[in-house]
């Protein structure tokens, strides 16, 4: 797994040319982005398991919350005390969760070949890939948009020296975006979507 992502994507695109998933490898031509977030049991991709997946489409300057994905999964074995403190999801909250296979189908269906937006989005994509690869034989080929990079690119000109504070709460405060529901997958996806729209279309940031 040390092949760079771009090369791998290129290789897989050819391999799956005739499969039902070929369209996922097409370059995206539209103006939509999907903001996606996963709640997991651990921040370590190797150990972590997915609890819930939330996603919304962003079309132009709108967060299309009426088109969204709000998936709860069956409680995994690794759902224990520590992570529960962060996301506040207990096993009983996932009682009517669905199987991971079905969840992945829904994700593919919803996201298509649109770019995926997220806050530390690579973590979410890697997490999904961990499940995708064994089942589909490929990783998510979508272009990734990292919110904190978008933010950083805009804010860095104003910050002389020093590091830019990229914490979620700081960004939301700077952008004056209300945090919809911290630590629910869908809530974070919506919040990130709003931040993105704000950064893309809003007035230049105040100091």
């Amino acid at each position: 797994m040390i092949i760079p992502r771009t090369i791998r994507r290129f290789k897989e695109r050819r391999e799956f040319k005739d499969s039902p998933y070929a369209h996922l490898f097409e370059p995206y031509k539209g103006d939509e982005v999907v903001s996606l977030d996963c709640e997991t049991t651990s921040l370590d991709v190797k150990k972590g398991e997915i609890l819930s997946i939330g996603a919304v489409k962003i079309r132009g300057r709108r967060v299309i919350t009426s088109e969204r994905l709000d998936i709860k999964l069956k409680p995994p074995a690794s759902l224990t005390g520590d992570s529960i403190k962060v996301h506040k999801i207990r096993a009983s909250d996932l009682a009517d969760g669905i199987e991971i296979d079905e969840a992945l189908e829904q994700v593919i269906e919803f996201v298509g070949n649109r770019p995926i937006l997220g806050y530390y989005v690579n973590y979410d994509i890697k997490m999904l890939d961990k499940y995708f690869r064994p089942r589909y034989g490929f990783s998510l080929p979508n272009k990734a948009i990292e919110l904190s990079h978008v933010y950083h690119d805009i804010i860095k000109w104003k910050t002389v020296g020093g590091d830019v504070d990229l914490r979620f709460d700081t960004i939301s405060k700077k952008l004056d975006i209300p945090i919809i529901q911290r630590h629910t997958a869908l809530g974070d996806a919506i919040t990130v979507g709003l931040m993105y729209v704000r950064l893309k279309f809003g007035a230049p940031l105040a100091d």
Binding site: T65, R68, D176, P178, I180, G187, I190, G193, F201
Partner: protein, 611 residues
């Protein structure tokens, strides 16, 4: 589900869980830059917008074409979960521009979903489509202010109506007393022909002990045939007001011409936890000024009790006006020598005269006396009267409209002449004095003196169009601020008297004067105007509702300020602190101010007032 949308606010809280899910599933979130047009006049809007963050201004189409900065033409601002565009959606087309005043994030509820909700939920539809009156009704039943005390709205028929003890003409006092004891009744109705007369225990005692009548006398001879009656549909609360005003302890319930029964004070009191009548009784029984002062002290607590239980503001005002009136009248009786009473009449004016004061506001009173009355101590006595009222907690009038000021002590003829003279002058002071004076109401002494003067004045006014036009103009003096939401940052204070209360009160006053309506209370004046077809019922209702909303909000703020201040004095009685209003109050206030604005337009055209 995404819970980014707050369902706790009206009208969305009216939706069922299933409908809320439908709503949630169809909401989008839109982002707008400062200055961006969200809905343009003439457009078909895509739905209703609910502000999540930011601020949106609504402005007139005609205004935007002008070169003025768009800011100054904005007449309403929306923010903090306010919704807008509802009217445009229902009418298919927007007539105003909605522009983001600052960066704004809105939830968008698409028209199709809105229509679905309107069809499935009639209450939601009502709230969305209706006027202020209907909204307030829904709020009263389903809103956050659910503390409206049910018992205050109880009707006579819901309370205890006692079966009357009826005796026929010719029954002796002895027999009647025996029957009363047997039936455990404390009054009896004597039937004479087809009329009923009331005989109370006190009447029997008076007849036998004081007047020395024989026990065999006909009980119908001592009955009082001028019965104070009410109907089964009337509010129990009104019966209490009636009892307080008339100083009686029972009223007869009549359904048309049919006798239904009797409502007793004790029964009404058992319905009300407040102690209004207790204060009333203490006022009546006061023998000295000191007694009266003690009784008057209880009023402030009573007001708070009534407000906190959410009694309708109109009823509270009526009750308190009756109580204040009794206190003033009683004091007058205590101060004025008995033999002078038929020759003088004490009138209260301004808000007191209209019966619309709640917290004790400035005393506005005057004296009318018979022409040629010789009473050397008058000035001194009137001074004592005013001073004592001040010591009771009725603040002195800053304009010095008090009986201690000789300008407000007049003979009937002088009084009528003064009013006429003011009506012929056009300076602001005359208009204000006249406005205060025409709300005058007699509270003690000989009311006939007042009526003579008033009628003489009304005759002099007959069809003087110039006067009415001039008089009405004062109600347009102050701007009605619909954009105050934009000024939240400055100070967030709204003068509700100038912006809302005065235009209504004065406009209605003018119309009432024109049509010779003798009522002084604004609500009753409105009712009378509607009855005379001078105003449409719906308009009247809306204006009355707006006025009571203003008064209610103002009162709430007054009580808050009095409680917070150290000396119990409220230096800004008419200021509304906009930041203290909740979302619902702001919503209603905005609707109410719109009504005022429309009413002012109506006044301007009716009385040909050019701006």
């Amino acid at each position: 589900m995404s819970e980014s949308f707050n369902m706790d606010n009206l009208p969305f809280s009216l939706l069922s869980a299933k409908e809320q899910t439908l709503l949630n599933n169809n909401l989008d979130i839109a982002y707008f830059q400062k200055g961006e047009t969200i809905i343009a006049a003439g457009d078909v809007p895509e739905g209703v917008f609910i502000v999540l963050k930011g601020k949106v201004g609504e402005s007139d189409i005609s205004d935007t074409s002008e070169e003025d900065s768009s800011e100054s033409n904005v007449f309403v601002h929306y923010q903090d979960e306010d919704y807008f565009g509802g009217w445009s959606v229902l009418n298919g087309k927007a007539i105003h521009n909605f522009i983001a005043v600052e960066e704004t994030i809105c939830h968008v509820l698409p028209t199709r979903t809105l229509m679905d909700l309107i069809h499935s939920n009639p209450l939601f539809a009502d709230y969305f489509q209706q006027n202020l009156t209907a909204k307030r009704e829904i709020v009263a039943q389903h809103g956050q202010n659910q503390d409206m005390a049910e018992f205050m709205l109880a009707r006579i028929q819901d309370g205890t109506i006692r079966e009357p003890l009826i005796v026929l003409e010719g029954t002796t006092i002895h027999e009647a007393t025996r029957m009363m004891r047997e039936m455990k009744a404390d009054c009896v109705l004597a039937k004479k022909g087809n009329r009923y007369g009331m005989v109370t225990g006190t009447d029997l005692l008076d007849a036998v002990i004081i007047k020395g009548m024989s026990l065999e006398s006909d009980v119908s001879d001592i009955a009082s045939y001028r019965l104070i009656t009410t109907t089964p549909q009337d509010y129990l609360f009104n019966a209490l007001i009636m009892m307080t005003q008339q100083q009686i302890e029972r009223v007869v319930v009549m359904d048309g011409l049919e006798l239904v029964g009797i409502v007793e004070l004790t029964d009404v009191l058992s319905h009300f936890s407040s102690h209004s009548h207790v204060i009333g009784l203490r006022v009546e029984r006061a023998q000295t000024i000191e007694d009266l002062r003690e009784a008057a002290k209880g009023l402030t607590d009573l007001i708070k009790a009534l407000i906190s239980t959410g009694v309708k503001i109109r009823f509270t005002m009526e009750l308190l006006a009756a109580m204040n009136g009794r206190i003033i009248a009683k004091l007058f009786e205590l101060v004025i020598p008995h033999d002078l009473k038929p020759h003088v009449c004490l009138i209260v004016m301004g808000s007191e005269g209209r019966g619309e004061q709640i917290m004790k506001t400035d005393q506005d009173n005057g004296l009318i006396c018979r022409a040629g009355l010789e009473w050397p101590e008058m000035a001194a006595t009137m001074n004592t009267f005013s001073e004592t009222l001040i010591s009771f907690g009725f603040p002195p009038c800053p304009g010095n409209i008090m009986v201690s000021n000789p300008e407000w002590v007049n003979s009937t003829g002088d009084w009528a002449n003064k009013l006429t003279a003011w009506s012929q002058k056009s300076d602001g002071e005359s208009v204000m004095k006249l406005a205060i004076a025409v709300d005058g109401k007699p509270v003690a002494g000989n009311a006939a003196l007042f009526k003579v003067a008033r009628n003489a004045f009304l005759r002099s006014l007959r069809s003087n169009e110039i006067f009415f036009s001039h008089f009405a103009k004062a109600s347009l003096n102050f701007d009605t601020p619909l954009t105050f939401f934009g000024n939240l940052k400055d100070k967030g204070m709204l003068d509700i008297k100038k912006g809302g209360i005065f235009p209504i009160v004065h406009g209605i006053r003018t119309m009432a004067l024109e049509h010779r309506i003798l009522e002084t209370n604004t609500f009753k004046r409105i009712e009378a105007l509607v009855e005379m077809d001078q105003m449409r019922a719906k308009h009247g209702e809306n204006i009355a509702e707006a006025l009571s909303l203003f008064i209610q909000i103002r009162l709430k703020h007054q009580i808050q300020r009095v409680e917070e201040s150290e000396d119990g004095i409220d230096p800004t009685p008419n200021a509304i602190d906009l930041q203290r209003l909740n979302k619902l109050e702001r919503d209603l206030l905005r609707d109410a101010l719109r009504i005022v604005k429309d009413f002012k337009k109506h006044l301007a055209s009716r009385y040909h007032i050019g701006s």
